[in-house]
Structures are given as structure tokens and as C-alpha cells.
């Protein structure tokens, strides 16, 4: 009986299957094409952006461009040196604040914290912080520092940027440390080392590359941030005057230049964009070289 039923089912199945087969293959093909279109849709803007920045920016770059302050508006003379300097200073300061804080918090979360409400809420808040719009962080910086000190300042900008940077570093640090195999720590324990020493001399070096990458990513991210700078550093066309004074920075300068109606200003904007991208690229490349050099060293 089973055999007869089987034959009957087999025939039915075969019949349906052949009918639907072409449609199914068609749908499959359609979906594949769709996904490929999506991929192209993402690649096109990327290449366009890169091309445009290089194309338009390269004509603006010159020695003056890189070393002189802004000339009179619309004249097309001068350069963006203050902005370059400012970016270095503000980002550098932010990194100086953000790196240790982020690192320590990440280390704490991964190595020292007990599993419990406290550490979970810290992680939770950290995650929330990563998602905050940068302009809101700018407001925080404004309220906290600018109002308090009475003027726009490098400090305010650096603080805001560090607020953006810290959660990223914390997350990367914690996750990289988590991946370090427990056996390393056990080895340290068995040698009678204190937890602090173990962390410092055994675990951290093992995670160095990952953490370093994370830090550089974070720095690249804040180097390009514009919004928080609007309300914290003001963006003058002068050179650095002091930590409590206003300063310029590349992203801000680009924004201002783009909003001016002059062709020359626009050209400067592209040039600044190119400089910014090159700086960020240099940072990541530098990191990659560093990481590679390390991995060539024999494993201790």
C-alpha cells in the first residue's frame, strides 16, 4: 500500500515541481541581481566621493595653502594652516583625555568588574553613549565648559570629542581583552602574580594590536567630527592662542568655506577635505605598519 501511495505522491510532486521550477529559478535570479545592484549602489557613491575629493582638492593645495592663515574673504589667497594646527591640537588633546579613560574603563569592565548590576549598567550606559548625536555632545560641551569659562575654547572642543571617543575605546578594549584566552591569566596566577601585574604585563600586551586599532579608529572618527566643534571652539582664522581660547579645525573650516558663495572658498574647502582625508589615512596606515611590525617579532 505504501508503495502505491508513494508512486502517486511522486507523480504529483514531480508535476507540481516542474511547473513551479521555472518561476522559482527566476525569483532566485531576481534576488541575486537585486543584491548585486545594492552592492553597486554602495560602491558608486564611495568612489565618487573619493574621486571628487582628490580631483577638486588637489588643485587647491600648495605650500601657502598648508602654511598660511586665511587671506581676505573671497580672495583665494592664504591657506588653512590654523585649521590644520587646530585639528592636531584639539584632536590630540581629546585623545590624551579619551585614551586613558577609555582604556581604564575597558580594562576594569573586562578584568576587574564582577558580573552584576553595576557593571551591566556601565556597559549599558556606554552603549547608549556611542549612539548619541554628536551635536548633542557639542551642547554638553558648551554648557559645561564654554559657559563656565566664558569663552569658546580648545578645552571645550577637546572635552566634547573625548566624550565621543571614550565609549568607542571602552567597547573595543573590553571586547579585545575578552578574546585573550583565559589560559594566559591562569599562567600568571600560577606564578603568584597579582591581578594588576597580570593585566599589565601579560594580558594587555596580548591584546595590544586590537586595542591600538580601536583607538586609531576612534581618533579617526573624532578627527572628522564637525558638529561638536561648532559650539565649542568657534573656529577663528587665527592660530592657536591658548587652551582656553578659540581655535580652528579642519572640519569646521570646511563647513564655513562651503557655505560661502565664492568659488575660491569652495576650492579651499575641497583642498581642506583632501588634507583631512590624507591625515586620517596616514593615521590608519601608520597603525597598520605598526601592527605588522609587531607581528613579525617572535612570539614571547
Amino acid at each position: 500500500m505504501t508503495m502505491n501511495n508513494n508512486k502517486k505522491y511522486r507523480d504529483i510532486l514531480l508535476e507540481t515541481v516542474d511547473k513551479k521550477y521555472r518561476k522559482r529559478m527566476f525569483v532566485n535570479k531576481l534576488v541575486t541581481i537585486f543584491t548585486i545592484i545594492c552592492v553597486i549602489a554602495a560602491i558608486v557613491p564611495l568612489t565618487s566621493i573619493l574621486i571628487e575629493v582628490v580631483k577638486n582638492g588637489i588643485s587647491a593645495i600648495s605650500y601657502d595653502f598648508l602654511t598660511q592663515p586665511q587671506g581676505s574673504i573671497g580672495s583665494g589667497s592664504g591657506g588653512i594652516a590654523p585649521a590644520i594646527q587646530g585639528t592636531f591640537i584639539v584632536v590630540g588633546l581629546a585623545a590624551a583625555i579619551g585614551t586613558p579613560v577609555g582604556l581604564l574603563t575597558g580594562i576594569y569592565l573586562s578584568e576587574f568588574a564582577q558580573e552584576g548590576k553595576f557593571s551591566n549598567s556601565v556597559r549599558f550606559f556606554n552603549d547608549v553613549l556611542t549612539g548619541l548625536p554628536s551635536i548633542v555632545i557639542g551642547i554638553v560641551g558648551y554648557v559645561l565648559i564654554v559657559l563656565a569659562l566664558g569663552s569658546f575654547s580648545v578645552l571645550a572642543g577637546a572635552l566634547s570629542l573625548s566624550i565621543i571617543m571614550i565609549p568607542i575605546v571602552v567597547r573595543v578594549t573590553e571586547e579585545t581583552l575578552k578574546v585573550v584566552p583565559y589560559s594566559l591569566r591562569e599562567a600568571g596566577h600560577s606564578l603568584g602574580l597579582s591581578k594588576a601585574k597580570i593585566t599589565l604585563f601579560i594580558v594587555l600586551p596580548a591584546a595590544k594590536d586590537g586595542i591600538l586599532t580601536g583607538i586609531v579608529v576612534a581618533i579617526s572618527r573624532i578627527a572628522g567630527e564637525t558638529a561638536p566643534l561648532i559650539m565649542t571652539i568657534l573656529g577663528t582664522s587665527l592660530f592657536f592662542t591658548g587652551i582656553t581660547g578659540p581655535v580652528d579645525a579642519l572640519p569646521l573650516r570646511i563647513w564655513r568655506l562651503a557655505s560661502q558663495p565664492y568659488e575660491s572658498a569652495h576650492a579651499f574647502g575641497w583642498g581642506s577635505a583632501l588634507v583631512l582625508i590624507l591625515m586620517i589615512l596616514a593615521l590608519s596606515m601608520g597603525l597598520r605598519l605598526l601592527v605588522q611590525k609587531r607581528s613579525l617579532r617572535p612570539v614571547t
Binding site: 525569483v27 534576488v31 554602495a42 560602491i43 556601565v122 548625536p133 566624550i163 579617526s220 572640519p251
Partner: protein
């Protein structure tokens, strides 16, 4: 240091309350006439939602398509560099997006998309203004491009976790590749995908500098967009625009209040997103209990 994190979030908000004495004006009013007295956030809330909405409509399907392509279709040789490219997209500072959008992309959008749409559909009020490129629509499109890397990379990660045996089961029944994805992968990752989209939404809502460069920057009752081709303004872009020239304390407070709305909105979205992404983990551990 731990306290600093939670603290700064809170502190930012308390200062906003310095403004809140006038909150009956700010919440959901119509008017945003700058100058003297009344400020209202309504038009900008609409602007934010509309531009983010467009970004999602365009960006999420594309991100999904990319995620499917990289994780299911492409061999690793192609998939890995593509993933890398997607990371590159994420690394571009938003100001450079803005620059590009302002000087290059908007013409593409205007000519290739807006004009044909307008010609074909301008009967419908939603398409009813003559497009010239600097409007909510363009803003939405560029925002879509910005969120693609985030959304697609989370989608990809979530899809990677699906056990291979599930896919094999589907294939062994004679499923095509798309059918396998639909049958074996999607049910696992549904909530993760939603979470990924919401993270993208959060980003689109909070994006400032790009938007202010290409959205047209209008204020006041005119700012309520009547069609996708209207000029508009979002919460974030208005803050950026006016902050340095705020004319009075009230004005400033109003702007900060906008920031508060933005903060609450973004936080809500992000928290919901993370819950969704974490949810998928529960499905799997529940299923494994034997």
C-alpha cells in the same frame, strides 16, 4: 570614570531644564518664528522624521541586499574586500559627505531622480514642488548612503551566527539559494535585522552637518514640509545653524531644548535597537535546550 559616563549624559539634560520654564511653548507647537518670543519645535520634528524616514526606506533594503550578498552569495574572495569597502564608507567624515552632496551629488539626484519623479507624479501632493536638489529628498538619500555601512554590517554579523546545519537542511530539500535564506536564515535573524535598522535610524536622526548643508535650511511655519521636494530643517541641522548666532538667552534655550528632544529620541531608538539585537540570542539558546 564610570560615573563620568553616566554623569555627562545627565548633566547635559539638567541644563536643558534651565529652559524648560517655557516648555509649554516648545512642545509640539506650530510656530517657530525666530526673533522675539515663541519657539516651537514642531516643523523640525517633522523634518527630522521625514528625512530619516526616507533614509530608512532607501537605506534598509539596500543594506539588507548587501548583507545577503556578502554573507550568502559571494565567495570569500569577493566578500571580504566588499566588507572592507563598506567599512570605508563608514569612515568618511560626515562633513565630506556634505561637501560631496552639496557640490556633486545633488545634481545627480535632481536630474536622475527628482525630475522624473516630479514629471510623473506631481499630481500627488507629496511630490508637488519643483525640485532643485537641495531638499528633504536629497538629504534622505545621502543619509541612506551614510547608514548603509552600519546596518549592513550588523545584518551580516547576525546572519553569520545562523548555524550552517540549518542552511544545509534547506538545501538538501532542494531549495534555491534565495529560498534557503528565506526559510533557514531569516526566521533566526528577524529581530536582529530590525535592531540593525533602528541603529541606522538613530544615526540618521542624529546626523547634523550633512543635513544642514543640503536640506535647504528654512525656519518658521514655512519649514513644515509639504512635499518631499520641499526645503526643510531637522532638529539637528537647526541647532547647528543657529547656535553661534543665537540672539537671546531664550533663543539659546530653545535650541538646547531641541537638543533635548533629539537626545530623548535618539536614546529611545538606540535602546530599543539594542534590545532587539540581543533578542536573537535568546531564540537560539532557547532552541538548544534539550
Amino acid at each position: 570614570m564610570v560615573g563620568l559616563v553616566a554623569f555627562s549624559v545627565a548633566k547635559g539634560s539638567t541644563d536643558i531644564f534651565s529652559k524648560e520654564g517655557f516648555n509649554f511653548i516648545t512642545q509640539s507647537n506650530w510656530d517657530a518664528v525666530e526673533g522675539r518670543e515663541s519657539f516651537g519645535a514642531f516643523p523640525y520634528i517633522i523634518g527630522t522624521l521625514l528625512s530619516a524616514g526616507i533614509a530608512m526606506l532607501i537605506g534598509v533594503p539596500i543594506s539588507l541586499g548587501i548583507a545577503i550578498f556578502i554573507s550568502e552569495i559571494a565567495p570569500p574572495r569577493i566578500g571580504t574586500p566588499l566588507a572592507f569597502l563598506s567599512e570605508l564608507l563608514a569612515a568618511v567624515p560626515s562633513i565630506i559627505y556634505g561637501l560631496w552632496a552639496l557640490f556633486v551629488f545633488r545634481f545627480w539626484v535632481r536630474d536622475l531622480v527628482e525630475k522624473p519623479l516630479y514629471d510623473a507624479f506631481h499630481v500627488f501632493p507629496i511630490f508637488d514642488k519643483t525640485p532643485f536638489g537641495l531638499d528633504i529628498f536629497t538629504a534622505g538619500v545621502v543619509l541612506a548612503i551614510m547608514i548603509i555601512p552600519i546596518v549592513s554590517s550588523i545584518c551580516r554579523e547576525v546572519m553569520k551566527v545562523v548555524p550552517h546545519s540549518q542552511r544545509e537542511a534547506a538545501y538538501s530539500l532542494g531549495a534555491t539559494r534565495w529560498e534557503t535564506v528565506r526559510m533557514a536564515v531569516f526566521p533566526y535573524v528577524k529581530s536582529g535585522l530590525v535592531g540593525a535598522s533602528m541603529l541606522g535610524l538613530g544615526r540618521a536622526v542624529g546626523e547634523t552637518i550633512l543635513v544642514t548643508m543640503i536640506i535647504g535650511n528654512v525656519i518658521g511655519p514655512n519649514a513644515i514640509p509639504t512635499s518631499v521636494f520641499s526645503q526643510g530643517q531637522t532638529l539637528a541641522s537647526l541647532i547647528a545653524n543657529e547656535f553661534n548666532e543665537a540672539s537671546s538667552d531664550l533663543h539659546l534655550s530653545a535650541l538646547i531644548a531641541l537638543g533635548a528632544i533629539l537626545l530623548v529620541l535618539t536614546m529611545g531608538i538606540n535602546i530599543a535597537a539594542r534590545i532587539m539585537v540581543k533578542k536573537k540570542v535568546k531564540v537560539q539558546s532557547g532552541a538548544k535546550s534539550q
